[in-house]
Symmetry: C2
Subunit: 286 residues, 2 copies
């Protein structure tokens, strides 16, 4: 797998998402992270706390994507089995990491000094990682004891608690930046045009514009081409056309925006206006 | 695939989720639906608007789960390719459904009467479905023209717009009810106990309780056993123990709740209190 990162996927691990105890927030955090860093998020997957499911899903993802993040299943209780499952997936042994134990004791001393042996064993599960030359522990934040365990420079293990996930991901982004696309060439721009013309009426025009630009940009990788989408805001009787592309295509993107405005009686709107309509939309009761 | 429905999966189709334009709401709606109907949701997956990705993902899911729902990609624009992708996945032809066209004209006449041929073709893509003896169109709501296309009594195609998704899913649930588990035996109960004991300290007790009940219920299918989970509320310094099981195990579940309260200095809380803490949690800034 190439060291440069273009494509990404996230594996959310936890029964609590599947049984509707909680709503997963981390995949959206990760989607925003990828968009901001010029990385194409290709897949989101949620599986339960089952070692074989986790192992099979991570193997499938690691065959396809440059950068994979897992979320969840790294606490001390019996239902936290991500490290074991990844060890299985990559055929690696598990080993207690003494350096991490030391950090844990330094940073959480008040929590650990009087644990009984069973409780200490539970705590040490959080420092028992897949081990080998292909595994690295990345400290993304000096004030947190937990490292991001990275396997094959590809799979990165993050906690499920949303604040921790977000914090460690931000730190990881800073560290991995050299492997991310050069943002001057890979950053995405996104424009929105709203129209009250129905989707069936606007579809032929959009198709022709998309086809035209696919042909014009045929020498670019598929993920690098301009993407035009249409999203209905039900109840509001408005459709929003989304036009996304790399910064280097800014003039082409502006040309498309102008064409959509002119041909579909559209009006360009900001991301904030579009987000507001999306929020309104979810509140309409049918 | 058996006609009775025990396991489920959902495939969310749409670039807009992967590029963080929108936050997916439908997988959570579906998770709640499954929990309420005694069905075990086993996987959530999000892929982009790419026919091969959709086809490969749906084939993978259909080999494993009884009941699969897709969300998104069934509008009239070029990026709506779910029906084509499913036709590819199951090796079926696509055919314009004249009955659905008739319903469309009846229920949306004001929108269709003056479309030009290209616009009409776009509109008719929404009534062009995989076709064959294994495909059924299910009308779940007489006031909506769009049917739920069902393939092999297993894969069910729903729209991505959250209000429509929710409305068609509710109708589909009513129609499929005979295939769902008998709720008197399959309905789940869920109890919560909060404690300020740290996860490492409470882990050994929870593990022993989980192991004890796994052994006691060893003759039950794995998905039918009692599941005990622990979820930290960061910042609040509270952990919540979740105890889930079938209604028929109510007395056993209450016994576990009582044990957790007693042994982990816990306090039983309602779903509403737990949800409130989860909301609080997402608002803490680190």
């Amino acid at each position: 797998m190439s060291l440069s990162i273009r494509s990404a996927a996230i594996l959310i691990i936890g029964d609590e998402v599947l049984n509707s105890k909680i709503r997963d927030l981390n995949s959206y955090t990760f989607a925003k992270f990828c968009f901001a860093h010029g990385i194409t998020l290709k897949a989101i997957s949620v599986v339960g706390d089952e070692a074989l499911e986790i192992a099979s899903e991570i193997r499938r993802m690691s065959a396809k994507y440059d950068f994979i993040v897992t979320s969840g299943g790294i606490g001390p209780t019996h239902d936290d089995i991500t490290y074991e499952a990844l060890a299985t997936a990559f055929n690696l042994p598990l080993r207690l990491d003494e350096t991490v134990v030391k950090r844990m004791k330094q940073l959480r001393s008040q929590l650990t000094f009087d644990l009984n042996p069973e409780q200490l064993a539970a705590q040490y599960r959080m420092a028992t990682f897949p081990f080998g030359p292909e595994v690295k522990n990345i400290i993304t934040d000096e004030s947190l004891w937990v490292p991001v365990v990275a396997i094959r420079n590809q799979v990165h293990v993050l906690p499920g608690v949303p604040q921790l996930f977000s914090r460690l991901l931000t730190g990881l982004g800073d560290i991995l930046k050299p492997r991310f696309p050069d943002l001057s060439s890979r950053e995405y721009l996104r424009y929105y045009v709203k129209t009250s013309i129905s989707e069936s009426r606007l579809a032929p025009y959009l198709t022709s514009v998309q086809n035209q630009w696919d042909a014009t940009l045929a020498s670019e990788a598929v993920d690098d081409r301009i993407k035009i989408g249409s999203y209905p805001h039900m109840g509001l009787r408005i459709n929003t056309i989304s036009i996304i592309g790399l910064v280097k295509f800014k003039s082409q993107l502006r040309e498309i925006v102008a064409g959509v405005v002119e041909n579909l009686e559209g009006q360009e709107i900001s991301k904030e206006e579009e987000d507001q309509m999306s929020v309104d939309m979810t509140e309409i009761k049918l």
